[in-house]
């Protein structure tokens, strides 16, 4: 198995600083020693401080025109998601239709960034979204647990790529991470990155299982060094999923990584984000921590599905001055 970082310069954003990134851990194969040195330099995180900062930024006031603009941005950042054992082509087509017409009564609403599905549903999703700019993201690497031999995980990725997925959402091996086998986690991401080819790679840390912010920060740095285009909080299958606190920890890691390498890595909180108010608070955190450069669907996504209708409802309220019944918004 290839254990080196892909050097494909045609990658969308990962090309930025990919060489430098590799050098962060030495120029040869990554060793236990170089990994220990790399992770040892990651600063610790103070949980109370994180909670305070999040609480203080929650009082920022985004209203009226600025709010309308921000809500529309949030719509364009959604990875509309269905990840159930009971997913069917019919269900995926329904969701694709929602992606193409988020609000049938308002054609000016931007489209969500992507549809996020299991690999088996990629062909259905592609067919339903054909000709539209909405991307298809496939969760893979034995999502959500990741507890399978590497070969199986890579086959999962290759299948999704061959079927035409635009983006791969992989899970890290939390078992390996928690038992201190960091090089193994790293090498697996490198291998998945290579198997993903031209696809955009989002690396799911499953922060709910990493448990501490120190772990989250180290895993973020490790994933970025291994070639992640995006780092993502959760599968949505484990509680807690995304929180603003853990998202801030990951933003800070992205900022440090940018300072170190110049690479611009994206972020995707996923699971548990349901209201417009919450979405705006995430964007405030993003804007205050990473700055306006990151306020684009190219670098920030919401992994969510019920959030969309709440955004539409708030946009409608700002437009018409009244709330419509939830029945005016489609449940797909």
């Amino acid at each position: 198995m290839a254990m080196t970082t892909s050097t494909d310069t045609n990658l969308p954003r990962s090309s930025v600083g990919s060489a430098t990134r590799h050098n962060l851990l030495g120029t040869g194969a990554v060793t236990k020693q170089s990994m220990a040195a790399f992770l040892g330099a990651v600063p610790p995180v103070d949980q109370v401080g994180i909670a305070e900062r999040v609480a203080s930024l929650a009082t920022r006031s985004v209203k009226r025109e600025a709010k309308a603009k921000t809500l529309r941005l949030a719509v364009s950042m959604i990875d509309l998601t269905t990840l159930e054992g009971m997913d069917t082509p019919g269900k995926v087509r329904q969701l694709a239709a929602k992606a193409l017409r988020p609000d049938p009564s308002d054609p000016t609403i931007p489209l969500p960034a992507a549809l996020c599905v299991y690999p088996a549903m990629v062909p259905t999703a592609l067919a339903a979204l054909e000709g539209s700019p909405v991307k298809v993201a496939a969760v893979s690497t034995y999502f959500p647990s990741g507890q399978a031999p590497l070969e199986v995980k890579l086959a999962d990725v290759r299948a999704a790529v061959e079927m035409g997925a635009d983006e791969i959402d992989m899970v890290i091996d939390r078992g390996a991470f928690l038992s201190g086998r960091y090089v193994e986690v790293f090498d697996q991401i490198v291998a998945v990155k290579e198997a993903s080819g031209h696809c955009h790679l989002k690396v799911i840390l499953e922060t709910g299982e990493l448990a501490t912010f120190d772990n989250v920060r180290r895993a973020s740095m490790l994933a970025m060094a291994a070639g992640a285009d995006f780092i993502k909080t959760s599968t949505g299958k484990v509680q807690p999923a995304a929180t603003r606190e853990v998202t801030l920890v990951m933003f800070e890691a992205i900022r440090d990584f940018h300072d170190l390498t110049g690479a611009v890595i994206g972020m995707k909180p996923a699971g548990g984000i349901r209201t417009s108010k919450d979405a705006i608070r995430y964007l405030v955190l993003l804007s205050e921590t990473l700055g306006p450069r990151w306020l684009t669907p190219d670098l920030f996504r919401f992994g969510a599905s019920s959030l969309l209708n709440d955004l539409l409802m708030q946009i409608g309220w700002l437009r018409d001055g009244r709330y419509q019944s939830p029945n005016y918004y489609t449940n797909d």
Binding site: P107, P110, P133
Partner: protein, 503 residues
């Protein structure tokens, strides 16, 4: 509908909809969300609160109080003279007869009532504090008012338990307390002074700061609303001369002062030998120490909060940053970036982080010291920051590589100015931290618990915060060493200065 949606989409650039206009960067805008000022009524003129009612000053003179963010006159306030102080002390003496005779459980009821009323009228108090003092409404609303209410709740709880607070001591009040409070936290300092005095059975003559008298006057109204017996609380507004008259009045059994070290020294010498009690809470030049193993991003937040909270008008502000040299470059870079996101401006805007400087005089003092730093050749950093045309403002400022001998490292600036130096070893950090005539507070940032304890043992400061800063709780005593004063406010210790036989 579908067709038009598809057409629209074809016209926009490919890729997931570019929400930013013209493909430029999306700027997340905060809306100037100004707190409505009409919820608080400001009278045209304020009298002195003596003996349970508002009375005209003997001098018949009034002075204006302004909004430092606009320089507009808010109202005029009675200038209390020594005759007014005499009346107020007399009223407090009368009030003492009834108040000290009440059982603690009865006094507690008044304190609880005051605490609840403060919560109920919290918005009014927050707004008035911001208008009169220039602090951001976010801080007045989320910190000053709730913490003040918490103080009354806390001491209400002690009022009927004094016998158990200090075993062996028969808890008896001192009598009339003369209390002089500063302009940086007008309502909170009022609460710190009044709550323990009332809980222990003392009565009060309070002199608020000249530039921020309004919340104390609103509080007087609230005390009357709470049914506090006449004369138990008296508020005499005025300037330094009014304060001096209060300190010098022979009928005052105890003086409690929070303010500058210079005035504190004068008060101490005037009380020396009189047998009257005194507590002083004075200035500071607090060290904020960051070790290389600290949670750096949170330490940046802590340092920012430590010096820019309330525009740096905080006696325990972390105004001297000591960074371990091995991380100083990274840390200072992070700090500079963070400073650039501070929002300085209209204190009434809920998004404002740093408000107006409290007065012209204070702005002049800050400007003078910053100029001294510049002329000493110290490197300075100030973020690009548009300040309003009117009012008193100062850009958040960092001084880098500051020498211990520099004026800006030794003198209290009491403004949004941070002096940064480096250290190599924990012992050197302690030595530099303690190398000051002050000793009010200190902060330590490290991931190592044993080092926190080691440092706390050695730092000469009344409060040592670890991995946080500017945290206040009514249950925790606060006070200084050396020229930062003596006596403690808050906690069980905060009862002592108001009881007999404890000195």
């Amino acid at each position: 509908m579908t067709d038009s949606a598809m057409t629209d989409k074809a016209d926009t650039p490919p890729g997931p909809v570019a929400a930013a206009d013209d493909g430029g960067l999306f700027e997340l805008e905060y809306v100037t969300s100004t707190e409505a000022t009409d919820i608080v009524g400001i009278a045209d003129r304020y009298e002195l609160f003596i003996g349970g009612g508002f009375r005209k000053p003997a001098s018949k003179e009034y002075f204006e109080t302004i909004n430092p963010a606009t320089e507009e006159v808010l109202t005029s306030v009675a200038a209390g003279s020594s005759r007014d102080i005499d009346r107020a002390v007399g009223a407090a003496r009368d009030g003492f007869e009834t108040w000290s005779a009440l059982p603690g459980s009865e006094r507690a009821k008044y304190l609880f009532r005051i605490a609840r009323l403060l919560q109920e009228r919290g918005r009014e108090f927050a707004l008035l504090e911001t208008l009169d003092g220039g602090k951001p409404i976010r801080e007045a609303r989320d910190f000053d008012v709730p913490t003040a209410a918490a103080h009354f709740f806390y001491y209400a709880g002690w009022a009927d338990k004094l016998e158990y607070a200090f075993p062996g001591l028969d808890p008896k009040p001192l009598g009339v307390a003369g209390q002089i409070i500063p302009w940086n936290f007008p309502l909170l300092m009022l609460a710190w002074k009044i709550a323990p005095a009332l809980a222990t059975g003392n009565t009060i003559v309070l002199k608020p700061a000249e530039t921020t008298p309004l919340t104390a006057l609103l509080f007087a109204e609230l005390a009357a609303e709470a049914g506090l017996p006449d004369g138990v609380l008296n508020v005499v507004t005025g300037d330094g001369a009014t304060g001096a008259a209060l300190v010098d009045h022979q009928g005052v059994d105890k003086v409690a002062f929070t303010g500058s070290t210079e005035v504190g020294k004068a008060i101490q010498s005037s009380l020396a030998g009189t047998g009257r009690h005194l507590t002083l809470e004075l200035g500071g030049k607090a060290p904020h120490i960051v070790f290389d193993d600290a949670a750096l991003d949170q330490a940046v937040e802590g340092v920012v909060n430590g010096i820019f909270f309330n525009q740096g008008h905080v006696c325990c502000a972390g105004s001297r940053l000591l960074i371990q040299e091995s991380v100083s470059e990274v840390f200072v870079d992070k700090l500079k970036r963070r400073l650039s996101t501070l929002r300085v401006g209209d204190p009434l805007d809920k998004n404002t982080d740093v408000g107006a400087i409290n007065s012209r005089a204070q702005l002049d003092r800050i400007t003078e010291l910053v100029e001294a730093g510049r002329s000493e050749g110290t490197e300075i950093f100030q973020p690009a920051c548009a300040l309003p045309d009117r009012g008193f403002w100062f850009t958040p400022t960092l001084f880098l590589d500051v020498a211990q001998s520099s004026r800006i490292a030794r003198e209290e600036i009491f403004g949004p100015v941070l002096s940064i130096s480096t250290f190599r070893t924990p012992a050197e950090a302690v030595e530099k931290a303690n190398n000051t005539p002050y000793g009010l507070s200190a902060g330590v940032w490290t991931n190592k618990g044993s080092r926190i304890l080691w440092m706390a043992d050695r730092l000469k400061a009344g409060v040592v915060w670890a991995n946080t800063f500017n945290k206040f709780d009514p249950a925790s005593p606060f006070g200084g060493y050396q020229e930062s004063g003596f006596g403690r406010e808050g906690g069980r210790h905060g009862l002592l200065p108001y009881l007999q036989g404890t000195h």
